[in-house]
Amino acid sequence: MKGVEVVNHVKGLLLEDVRKVWPHLTLEASFHVAPSERIAIVGRSGAGKTSLLRLLAGLEPFAAEVDQGKLYLAGREITRLQPQERQIGYLFQDQALFSTMSVLENVAFGLKVRGVERAEREARAEKWLKRIGLANQAKNSVERLSGGEKQRVALARALIIAPRMLLLDEPFTGLDSALKRDLISQLLEFHQEDPIPFLLVSHDESDLSALATGVIRVIEGEGENDKIRTLKRSY
């Protein structure tokens, strides 16, 4: 990536003494996730799980005066990079599909903003749609899709940019058990094909056990430190 130098040889994701402060919450974390790992983030509702994903994606910028530590991804420091410079796939809780675009345009969006020619990006997006079984929906509006279909489109959109890490925020919300199984098997297939760190948040432990290879727990502080959340890896 332009302007970003390789600074260490640690593959995957590394958080080095990170301390991020919000008015309502302080996150403290130091951990490593290898490319072959799929890590579940576990903690009660409101504990700061989504905040961690947003911090990793660059959607919660580091404030020089109060925030500390460093973030590395695939050997590059990403602490102060903008979201568009991080090359991270993010599956949002509500999918965040672009309602003014068709299914194909949604999937191809990441390529479009990278200046990929129309014919090429459409061909690549069609290939992804075929993989997720939605080739026949390419020209449809995303608003006509079912919950499971929306989730798959969002996944294809996140993966088409060849991300260095995939963040999944409650990916199974609103899906019945059959659709969950399908999504899990697709995620496992994609991970096997291109091993990058997967970090996922879900409130359902059974989803996590089917997909995750490790766990990060959010430990909540007590008393005066009740705003502090410490992230600890469990092995």
Partner: protein, 506 residues
Amino acid sequence: MIGVLDLLSSVSLLSFLVLAILVPFGAIFSFGAVTHIPFLDPEIRAAAKITFYQAFISSTLSLVLGTGVGWFCLGLARTHDRSLRMTRSLLALPFGVPAVVAASAWVNLGVGYSLNAVIISHVVFNTPWVALWVINGLEDISQSQRDAAKTLGSSRLQEFRYILLPELTPTLISAFSQVFAVCAMSFALVMILGGGPPVETLETTLYSKIRSGGLDLSSAVACALWQIMMTFVPWFLLQRVAPRWQSHRNLHSLPRSKKNTFTGWIAVLVALLFLIPYFSLLKINSFHQLGLILNDATSQKEILDGLWTSLKLSLLTALGAIAVAIAGVWLERRLHKNVVASLFPFALILPAGVSTMVLGLGMFIAYRGLGVLDPFSSSVLPVVALQSVFFVALAYRVFRPIEMRFRQTEFEAARTLGASFFQSFVAVEWKRWRGPLFGVFALIFGGALGEVGAVSLFYNEGRIPLSLLVFRWMAQYRFEDAQAISLLLMLLALGLITVGVSYERR
């Protein structure tokens, strides 16, 4: 089973729709069908040309400036709760400035008597309104869509071009059509700031064909037909392709801090800029002049009579518009999924796309000589009906979402526990209704205080409201007196609008 409320609602709504809208509208077309209309008369064609030109330029400039101001202000105040609220309120305020007051302020600033003066006043009047639409539109775009675009690699410009602009387009089209209609239907600003011929629009020409000298109904109907083509037809078409709203507001918005910051204050100052021209009336001289004319017995009587007339007309207009809007939303919910109910939104919102002059002309043709319905009788009914037509859309837009969330089960539970219909309503619904109800009342009351079209068309010597008094005194070159009354009118209207906006949001 049809209850008393259903019957009352049906009767009031039907009478309003038929008497205040359908019959007057029909009268224009039937008059046009049986009489020769000088549709292509050079004077009328020239008026149509100027109307289109000034409305197009004014609305295009307002749209461009308003989009920029809205985008800029939201960017600065997005995460600061208080400054965003202040910015919104300040942007809403100019819309409550009565047109005669605005005209008086521009004359005071030396901007007047040309087409450019009309365009400037329209742009300054409408830009904050467009900015408010843009802020609301941008806020409605889900934050996670914007975040998704960023994580997929969009720059700020690409995010605007590919995500925000397409989402905002329906809002911009709607805003443009409404501003275009407002400018094309503008009467007081054109009448005062245009300075007469050659700056004559369809509204002022129609007015002069009825009230200045002889009564030339054929030419007035020709103006009305041009005006309908220019404002009502696009308005109607655009309402049909109205934005498919998908409100995401507050679902994924950024966390807001209660504190204000430097950037938040800049947004507030930008919003304040659009009120500055009107604040030029707030000079010591105006207060002094107000004191002087209140001490003069003749002027004092004119002002007190005008104030009384204004208050009376505004009160009746607010009550009328609210009653019709409530009847509309009540019946719409009761007739849920019925084809008749699906027509209500059109029936109640569309008339706002017809100008006062056009509808007033229709009333004149339909009801002249018919007792209290005769617009030139001393009855206030036609003026109140005419003003209500324009304000009913506002009330309807506010009340509809409240009524559609009617808590049927809780209401029925209250009834089974022994509460009467009224007690059940008070217990279950009143808390949700009272804020918007007072708010809408204050908004319509304030808006009607400054209304000048209907009262100009149907004035008689026993009924000169304050807004018309300003108009009249300016025509008599009593500029300082007119500015003093404008000041009074502005303080009254802005006070009411401020109360209205704060209550309506509760």
